[in-house]
């Protein structure tokens, strides 16, 4: 509680921004409290779904760093998610590594992969980059089916891994523990991303997004920062992928179909491009809306999903972020 009162005094001192700060802090605190309380009241399947939602949110934060902050498109982030997932599964399956160690390794590996993919991407802008990454997304499942790697990847059969249990004798079942573990990772990821945006690097990334030529003439190494954005974004997505493999306990090449990349992009746009907390809304959309569409009509669930997507783009083109921003502006009477 002491940190809270500290925040209040500082807010009071800073005067003008007081309203925004306290609202923002309160909402963050409330969301966290609800997130911690949920697994004690919800059923196991809902906990599992929420865990998936948190994991997608991490991936969407990563995509947001690339698209929202740096202005580059990617329709192929499912590929990095797959690299992360395979890293985790192979480490656990082949080397008997603890699942805890798979996250940093997956992150580093994806950072390198993303950085390298970012190098050719440097020459591509807008629609061309979308095209190259689209190709990456479509090809991903085939790459993991290749026979030379079958010994590691298990080919089409994929890899089955065991479920971790709660450590230190915590009174939590497996689902609850994985939920808290994912939540913990997500909070760290969110804080890191937020600090990154506020840093010198973050400002450089945003300068490149807003005007690459001006950014370059101000001495920003655009090539380095754009590749860096790709690498960091891939790192987030890779960590999410590793978590996803641990939670679902099974991966095969077709888990990383083109639809996964599409889902991540949809989550980003629905949540609001450039607004980090939007990841929660976006992730909720991609986990729960297909189920809702399924309930509307079994045979036409894809069509229902598509209609909802287009309607959403029509009524809130800036995503949940834009909607909340304009709502706040309205409340403040500006």
């Amino acid at each position: 509680m002491s940190t809270n009162s500290f925040a209040e005094t500082r807010d009071a001192a800073s005067g003008q921004t007081e309203g925004i700060w306290s609202i923002g802090r309160l909402v963050t605190l409330a969301v966290l409290l609800i997130a911690i309380a949920i697994p004690f009241v919800a059923k196991n399947f809902l906990i599992f779904q929420l865990t998936l939602m948190i994991i997608y949110a991490i991936a969407i934060i990563g995509l947001n760093l690339l698209t929202g902050i740096n202005g580059q498109f990617s329709l192929g982030h499912g590929a990095f998610y797959a690299v992360g997932a395979y890293t985790a599964a192979i480490m656990i399956d082949q080397f008997g590594a603890s699942y805890l160690w798979t996250l940093p390794v997956a992150g580093i590996l994806c950072f390198i992969t993303g950085f390298l993919f970012g190098l050719p991407a440097l020459r591509l802008e807008g629609i061309y980059l979308a095209l190259a990454t689209f190709a990456l997304a479509v090809v991903t499942p085939q790459l993991f089916k290749l026979s030379p790697f079958e010994h590691w990847t298990g080919g089409i059969m994929g890899i089955v891994i065991g479920k971790p249990t709660a450590p230190l004798g915590l009174p939590l079942n497996d689902d609850q523990w994985l939920y808290f573990f994912s939540l913990f990772v997500a909070v760290i990821a969110y804080v890191c991303a937020k600090n990154l945006i506020g840093s010198r690097t973050g400002r450089a990334l945003m300068a490149i997004r807003d005007n690459p030529i001006a950014a370059r003439s101000m001495g920003i190494n655009t090539a380095l920062y754009k590749s860096l954005a790709f690498g960091l974004s891939a790192l987030y997505t890779g960590v999410a992928g590793a978590l996803g493999a641990i939670v679902i306990q099974f991966i095969n090449p077709d888990s990383f179909h083109f639809a996964l990349s599409v889902a991540l992009l949809v989550g980003l746009v629905v949540g609001g491009v450039g607004w980090l907390p939007g990841a929660i809304f976006g992730a909720a959309f991609i986990v729960f809306v297909p189920n809702i569409a399924e309930e509307i009509s079994k045979g036409l669930s894809g069509a229902a999903y598509g209609v909802m997507l287009i309607a959403l783009m029509l009524v809130m083109p800036t995503g949940a972020g834009g909607l909340i921003r304009s709502g706040l502006r309205y409340l403040r009477g500006k």
Binding site: T67, F73, L75, P120, R123, L124, G126, I127, Y128, A130, L131, A132, F134, A135, L136, V138, V139, Q142, L143, K145, L146, S147, P148, I213, F258, V262, L265, V266, V269, V273, G299, L300, S301, G302, A303, A304, Y305, G306, V307, L309, I310, M313, L314, P317
Partner: protein, 291 residues
């Protein structure tokens, strides 16, 4: 040597599929300056309409023009109803709308015609030439692709409407100032792209079988062909499509690791390679941006 010739003919025949698709991709890129990820699904849906008409006993020479006309109006309707509200939206919104369209068309086709594969008879009949090396259908497909290309070339270069369409895509503001109905041109572009997609679909379906998911990998090869030839050049796209077919078949035969399974990644390597070393493609123009 015999194997080489045989593979070359197979490659060119497959290339015909990709050339068709690449042509449709470039068409819509010229009309709206966006890559339509739902393009393949639109072509698939038109092909299903053709299949349905054939099932009802309509003869082929009626089915083809009918399907082309239906596809044309379908394209116009999609542009008017779905895309028009987003005409000023950022690129990312467009991509999401295309994804939505993709889902709607794919799911509707699956709902109406189910996800089982269906054979589509060739409009050129059975039989083959050159001692069984190339089927009548493949020859017909290549000829039709070239015919469509010539038609488009003449249309865009020598007709008033074609010139207006190019002007409207190139610079909508200036085009509007000289009295070109830009929005109507965009609708026309969508209609034509859908019609070409329908032709491509009818030509492709007898080879790959008809099912709602048939187009995804073909679309990728079509993109690869379009990128290789240059997104701004219809003849380039056709040549690019044939080249992709050749490269795919040759690599599959002569590079042992690739075999059958690595064929799709070739498209990725081609797209990324071309975009990295020569983003305008082999025949495209460099687009100069004003600061």
């Amino acid at each position: 040597m015999e194997l080489l010739i045989q593979q070359a003919i197979t490659g060119i025949a497959t290339g015909g599929i990709y050339a068709c698709m690449a042509l449709a991709v470039v068409m819509i890129f010229q009309a709206i300056h966006h890559l339509n990820f739902a393009q393949g699904e639109m072509a698939m849906f038109s092909t299903f309409i053709a299949w349905q008409l054939l099932q009802w006993g309509v003869p082929y020479w009626v089915v083809i023009p009918a399907t082309i006309v239906i596809a044309f109006f379908g394209g116009v309707v999609i542009e008017r109803v779905v895309m028009r509200p987003f005409s000023k939206a950022p690129v990312l919104s467009h991509i999401v709308v295309f994804i939505g369209l993709f889902a709607i068309i794919n799911s509707t086709a699956g709902f109406i015609w189910e996800f089982t594969i269906k054979p589509l008879a060739s409009p050129f009949g059975e039989g083959s030439q050159l001692g069984g090396l190339i089927s009548n259908h493949q020859i017909g497909m290549i000829l039709v692709t070239l015919l469509v290309l010539v038609f488009l070339f003449v249309f865009f270069r020598y007709t008033r409407v074609g010139l207006k369409m190019r002007a409207a895509a190139e610079n909508p503001e200036s085009a509007r100032l000289v009295g070109i109905p830009v929005s109507r041109m965009v609708s026309l572009g969508w209609g034509m792209a859908a019609a070409i997609g329908a032709i491509a679909g009818i030509l492709i379906a007898p080879i790959v079988f008809l099912e709602p998911n048939m187009m995804l990998s073909i679309l990728l090869y079509g993109f690869a062909g379009a990128v290789l030839g240059g997104l701004t050049s219809p003849p380039g796209a056709v040549i690019g499509g044939f080249a992709v077919g050749l490269i795919e078949t040759m690599a599959g035969t002569y590079i042992p690791v690739i075999g059958g399974e690595l064929k799709l990644p070739i498209a990725l390597v081609l797209i990324v390679g071309v975009l990295t070393f020569k983003p305008t493609g082999l025949f495209g123009r460099t687009i100069v941006q004003r600061v």
